[in-house]
């Protein structure tokens, strides 16, 4: 359904576009109907930029994004596109205009897409949508955003997207600001939507969340794909040293970091492995820069083994400002 092909994003920074900053380069993957694809990366990996490009909030600098084979930038009528593709963002509080009631997000949809709908009919639709995200309409309609919890707001935004009978949902870090006791329910909602045939692009920095809900995983690093494939393969048999070190750094609930092979050894072990890309046969390099090491499991060159691991170790603390792009 959705297909990215060699997509790049170059930002011009400074006055009159003096310098160029490449946020995304040559990324290609697909999202099928009824499929959840998680886009995993650290801050600065370009994952949110990709989400914004799919939502046409940011222009594509190179490559194409197509929906059912049609270049999305050629769809003149943005509304027509947004009828099929919608997004939910990280900060639910920032998604609601604080000076208006929260249900204004629904009114906006009505105004733009269903101006002819009767008030009663529309209210029924909104209530149905709210119930489909397990919200009690009586509890949330007519309230101001600050009177609702983050979880409630985020569900309302999903309900808003559902009102449009969309086919693809871009979920950008939608649960990272929610409390632990409610975030899993929102995550479950994504799975429910998938069951209804929606394609979902789930952008996250949290490996365990991505793993929980997605069919396929794309691991991004510095704007490029490091590894991608069916989620069980990527997490069960990571072939790129970057994926391995990410996995090693994730705090787990029943295993301490100290229980894993010590820091250095894990990295060293990864480095000693030969580069999966170069090991692979020439004919398996079916995509630019990626080699297919198993069915649907692609991996990029580790960038000279040691370099990649060392780069991560260095990066460890150097880069932790939140991604803003």
């Amino acid at each position: 359904m959705l297909k990215l092909d060699g997509v790049s994003k170059v930002y011009r920074v400074g006055a009159f576009g003096g310098r160029a900053l490449t946020a995304v380069s040559g990324v290609g993957f697909e999202v099928g109907e009824g499929e959840v694809v998680s886009l995993i990366g650290e801050s600065g990996s370009g994952k949110s930029t990709i989400g914004r490009m799919v939502l046409r909030l940011t222009r594509v600098s190179g490559g194409t994004i197509t929906l059912d084979g049609k270049d999305i930038s050629s769809i003149r009528d943005r509304k027509e596109y947004y009828r099929q593709v919608q997004g939910v963002f990280q900060d639910p509080f920032s998604c609601f205009n604080p000076v208006f009631r929260a249900d204004r997000v629904f009114a906006m949809i009505k105004e733009q897409y269903f101006p002819g709908a009767g008030a009663r009919e529309w209210r029924k639709r909104v209530e149905d949508a709210l119930e489909s995200v397990r919200l009690d309409p009586g509890n949330v309609l007519g309230k101001y955003p600050h009177q609702l919890s983050g979880g409630q707001l985020q569900r309302m935004l999903i309900a808003r997207a559902v009102l449009l009978d969309i086919r693809l949902l871009v979920a950008d870090e939608i649960i990272s600001m929610l409390d632990a006791s409610t975030r899993i329910d929102v995550l479950n909602l994504l799975a429910d939507l998938r069951a209804r045939g929606l394609g979902i692009l789930f952008v996250t920095h949290d490996l365990s969340l991505g793993n929980y809900v997605s069919d396929r995983t794309v691991v991004l690093r510095d704007g490029k794909i490091a590894e991608m494939g069916p989620t069980p393969l990527v997490f069960g048999d990571p072939r790129h040293p970057y994926t391995r070190s990410l996995l090693a750094a994730v705090p787990r609930l029943h295993t301490k970091w100290t229980d894993l092979p010590a820091d250095g050894t894990a990295a060293d072990a990864a480095e000693d492995l030969p580069c999966a890309y170069h090991e692979a046969a020439q004919e398996s390099r079916t995509r630019p820069g990626l080699a297919e090491v198993a069915d649907g499991h692609f991996v990029a060159c580790s960038g000279g083994g040691k370099a990649a691991g060392a780069a991560l170790a260095k990066k460890t603390l150097a880069k932790n400002t939140k991604e803003t792009a």
Binding site: D185, S208, N211, A249, V250, K319, N320
Partner: protein, 314 residues
């Protein structure tokens, strides 16, 4: 006992009345203990952390005492607290990226701070400790804007622990970080304790899996009160409070997939703390609730080092 908090109450003044953000908490932290303080937003964990070092303008100390190394902390008296700050209690704030004065060179700022606190010359020690976290002493001659976010965070960590405080409070220091950076920061915190730079530590976080990695014990708060405190391993594997149990069960882990095991959250929302209901505050969301829950359960020891505030916890 390094830290002993007894029936501490701190309220927030708001227009609609006082929010009982911290409503009677009693616990202690032993020498050398790293205690994780976990809870959701509105649980009172940040209020507790702030209360131990500096109440902000809208907070009111409504009762209870805090004792550190046998001395009572005058937490309601901003002036008197100054003597304890930095030397006895210190803080690594959530806002490390903006915690340094942007118009002063870092070395100069630290020097002026130390001089103002009556510490003779700390430069040599400062340089040594910067090296410990992998920074060269050159950073002292630079302005904060010349450092990366990670470097600033490390500088703040070093400055906060420079006077070897008895208690270090780390307030959500990892929440905005990438996984790899989280690990490094958490490990550095652990190193501070292991090198004896700080005696005990309170690590405030919303992320139980992270704090589990470094803490000896974990204290879980809910709606302004304590729910459970136990050794980290016990809290994660055998929690006794129904809230903790549900919370831990709601955390997805690497390897758990939706198709295999559908996790569930905790239905409902925490009560408003403007006028909280009497009795156990979790009872509206609690699957085990019964009549007795209308009465506040004591925060009682159910096993050595394991305290729970629940009538059903045996």
């Amino acid at each position: 006992m390094a830290l002993k908090v007894t029936d501490l109450r701190v309220y927030y003044r708001t227009l609609r009345g006082e929010v009982k953000a911290l409503d009677g908490v009693t616990f202690s932290v032993a020498d050398g203990e790293i205690m994780g303080l976990a809870g959701e937003s509105g649980s009172g964990k940040s209020t507790l952390a702030k209360s131990l070092i500096r109440l902000d303008g809208r907070m009111r100390h409504a009762g209870g005492t805090v004792e550190l190394d046998g001395r009572e902390l005058p937490i309601a008296d901003d002036r008197a607290m100054d003597e304890f700050r930095f030397r006895e209690v210190s803080l690594i704030p959530q806002y490390s990226m903006s915690a340094l004065n942007p118009t002063r060179k870092i070395g100069k700022m630290v020097g002026e701070l130390l001089a103002a606190r009556g510490v003779p010359d700390g430069t040599a020690e400062l340089e040594r400790r910067l090296e410990l976290v992998g920074l060269s002493k050159d950073v002292l001659g630079r302005y904060p804007i010349e450092l990366s976010g990670g470097m600033k965070q490390r500088v703040v960590m070093v400055v906060s622990t420079l006077l070897d405080p008895s208690l270090l409070i780390a307030d959500e220091v990892t929440s905005a970080l990438d996984v790899s950076s989280q690990k490094a920061v958490a490990t550095t915190l652990l190193g501070f304790r292991d090198h004896g730079l700080v005696t005990s530590m309170m690590v405030v976080t919303h992320d139980i899996s992270l704090v589990y990695q470094i803490a000896d014990t974990i204290l879980v708060m809910y709606a302004g009160r304590l729910a459970e405190k136990a050794p980290a391993e016990v809290l994660v594997t055998a929690p006794r409070h129904p809230y903790t149990r549900q919370l831990v069960a709601a955390l997805p882990e690497v390897g758990v997939r939706y198709e295999d095991r559908r996790l569930t959250g905790i239905p409902g929302n925490p009560p408003s703390l403007l006028d909280p209901p009497g009795g156990c505050r979790f009872r509206d969301r609690c699957p085990l609730a019964f009549e007795q829950c209308a009465e506040q359960p004591p925060f009682a020891e159910v096993a050595p080092g394991h305290l729970v505030a629940c009538w059903k916890a045996e």
